[in-house]
């Protein structure tokens, strides 16, 4: 008997005409948009280059990053807490967490930011007293507390908490009920089960939308320019209000935001891979070819 291996298949590959058509359309559109932009006398590419690394711009970038980091840290921590509260058996915790989310998701972020910026007008003094004793443990004029980036941080993190809470809650609910039962059967208490078994698995579901939240947050920090938040947007606004180079300076801000978001997208990719441990990689072809 012969065991000839059949010859490798030589077939004419499928021709992807769609790719060529798409390339032509995209190139044409890119050329038209690009030439329109470059022909504008107000873009001033050399001015963009001149301002891109100016001290005030870099200082604004630093503040924008600081706001993003603090607001995301506080927002995520508070979000986990709120999510666990909402899923708790305790009805008081459940309702208060739901009320918090309802309020901070139900009002625009811009309104919240302006509100915290003008908190002194509503509450002239911030006072914390021990109930029934009248002893004040904290008593300061509001405008002495709400300085620098404090109002911006407060508004951004409280708002983020509400959104993070919903993301974390969805993540926790996505973990199979059998996991909780297995942990309980091993004698793990509810807190330990949540921390060691449920949350690490929920992270796989939580990480992608939280990555989007970081990116959204980075750009939302621009809103704090309405209360002079010292961020990147405030910095360029302050300068273009004086020298009227509005378009080049907005381009400077846009370039920085785009660069920072691009870096974050790469980080997000690594984070998602890390939390996907124990699961098969989900790669493969796109929907269209």
């Amino acid at each position: 008997m012969t065991t000839d291996t059949p010859p490798p298949i030589k077939a004419v590959p499928v021709r992807h005409h769609g790719r060529w058509i798409a390339a032509a359309v995209v190139l044409l559109l890119a050329y038209q948009v690009g030439s329109a932009l470059l022909s504008s006398p107000n873009l001033e590419p050399h001015t963009i280059g001149e301002y891109l690394f100016k001290d005030f711009v870099l200082e604004g970038v630093r503040t924008t990053l600081l706001l993003t980091v603090i607001a995301m840290l506080l927002g995520t921590a508070g979000g986990v807490l709120l999510a666990v509260m909402r899923l708790s058996a305790n009805p008081v915790l459940r309702v208060s967490a739901a009320a918090f989310v309802w309020f901070f998701r139900g009002t625009p972020l811009l309104v919240q930011i302006v509100f915290f910026g003008f908190l002194g007008a509503l509450l002239p003094r911030l006072t914390i007293t021990i109930p029934f004793t009248g002893i004040a443990v904290f008593d300061q004029p509001t405008n002495a507390v709400m300085v620098g980036i404090v109002p911006a941080v407060l508004a951004l993190s409280l708002n983020e908490m509400a959104y993070a809470a919903e993301i974390v809650r969805a993540g926790i609910l996505a973990v199979d009920k059998g996991q909780t039962e297995a942990a309980h059967a091993l004698g793990m208490k509810p807190g330990l089960t949540m921390r060691r078994i449920i949350l690490p698995q929920a992270m796989r579901v939580i990480a992608p939308p939280m990555g989007n939240e970081v990116i959204t947050m980075l750009k939302s920090t621009a809103l704090v320019s309405v209360i002079a938040g010292r961020d990147l947007m405030t910095a360029v606004q302050t300068v273009y209000a004086q020298n009227y180079k509005v378009i080049p300076l907005l381009a400077v801000a846009a370039i920085w935001y785009l660069a920072l978001v691009s870096v974050l997208s790469v980080v997000q990719w690594f984070v998602e891979r890390r939390f996907g441990r124990g699961h098969r990689a989900t790669s493969g072809g796109g929907m269209f070819r």
Binding site: H184, A185, L186, G187, M188, R196, P200, Q201
Partner: protein, 253 residues
């Protein structure tokens, strides 16, 4: 001999639906008891009541002399706190139909998790013991594999090692081979046979008649939320007295 599990008139309802309608049952220490019966007969529910994953609606259930889920003071019952329930569950190992391994931890990680975080055993000692247990279930070479990389039979054996790591006095098996491909059933039953030979007290819900006949000290046939008949495997499987038992055995044997 003393009872490890003792049930007196145990009832369980889910809303209007009564799943257990008065179960009387005793499993002595060192004995293997197999629960048989058609699906929906309440055998899994009873098993889950034993470690309080389900709350008993009426009747009394004791594990090693302790009332499950409650503390008796005088003639009043006090519900146990969740932390107290957790403490009671430490000595009861449970193996699930769907394995329920922790997918984010390796096989070794699954086995050391509870000894380290519940019993606060030193990490190095817990690790060594976990490796010994994985060796015992024939998976010494899979310690660093994640559950998704293991076959069903291998996952179930890791799950058994995970339960054994808590040094349980009682092991509960909820249809441990029902989710397995036929050729993988044997490896899991072999591990369970070894456990029984070592004198572990076991309550096993199963459809494996061969295993029940060979390993069980007592076989309990349940249907419609009640114990239809109980006895030695020879009695119940070989010479059933009730028509319902005969009808069931005729279908599965």
């Amino acid at each position: 001999m003393t009872a490890m599990i003792k049930a007196e008139g145990v009832r369980k309802s889910f809303g209007q639906l009564e799943v257990l309608s008065g179960i009387d049952l005793q499993v002595d220490k060192g004995q293997v008891c197999c629960l048989l019966g058609p699906s929906g007969s309440g055998k899994s529910t009873f098993l889950r009541c034993v470690n309080h994953l389900e709350t008993v609606t009426a009747g009394r259930l004791w594990v090693d002399g302790d009332l499950v889920g409650y503390r008796q003071r005088g003639d009043r019952l006090h519900e146990l706190r969740e932390s107290e329930v957790a403490e009671r569950r430490r000595d009861i190992g449970m193996v699930f139909q769907r394995f329920n391994l922790f997918p984010h931890l390796t096989a070794l990680g699954n086995v050391v998790e509870a000894p380290v975080h519940v019993l606060r055993e030193p990490k190095a000692a817990a690790r060594q013991r976990a490796l010994d247990l994985l060796d015992r279930v024939g998976l010494a070479d899979k310690a660093d594999a994640y559950p998704a990389m293991l076959s069903g039979g291998q996952q179930q054996r890791v799950a058994i090692a995970r339960a054994l790591a808590m040094r349980p006095k009682l092991m509960l098996f909820d249809e441990p081979t029902s989710a397995l491909d036929p050729e993988l059933v044997g490896e899991v039953l072999d591990v369970m046979r070894g456990l029984a030979a070592d004198g572990m007290t076991m309550l096993v819900v199963t459809h494996e008649m061969g295993f029940a006949r060979e390993v069980a000290d007592t076989v309990v046939f349940m249907d419609g939320g009640v114990v239809v008949e109980a006895g030695t495997p020879e009695q119940v499987l070989g010479d059933p007295r009730h028509d319902r038992t005969r009808a069931f055995l005729a279908k599965v044997l």
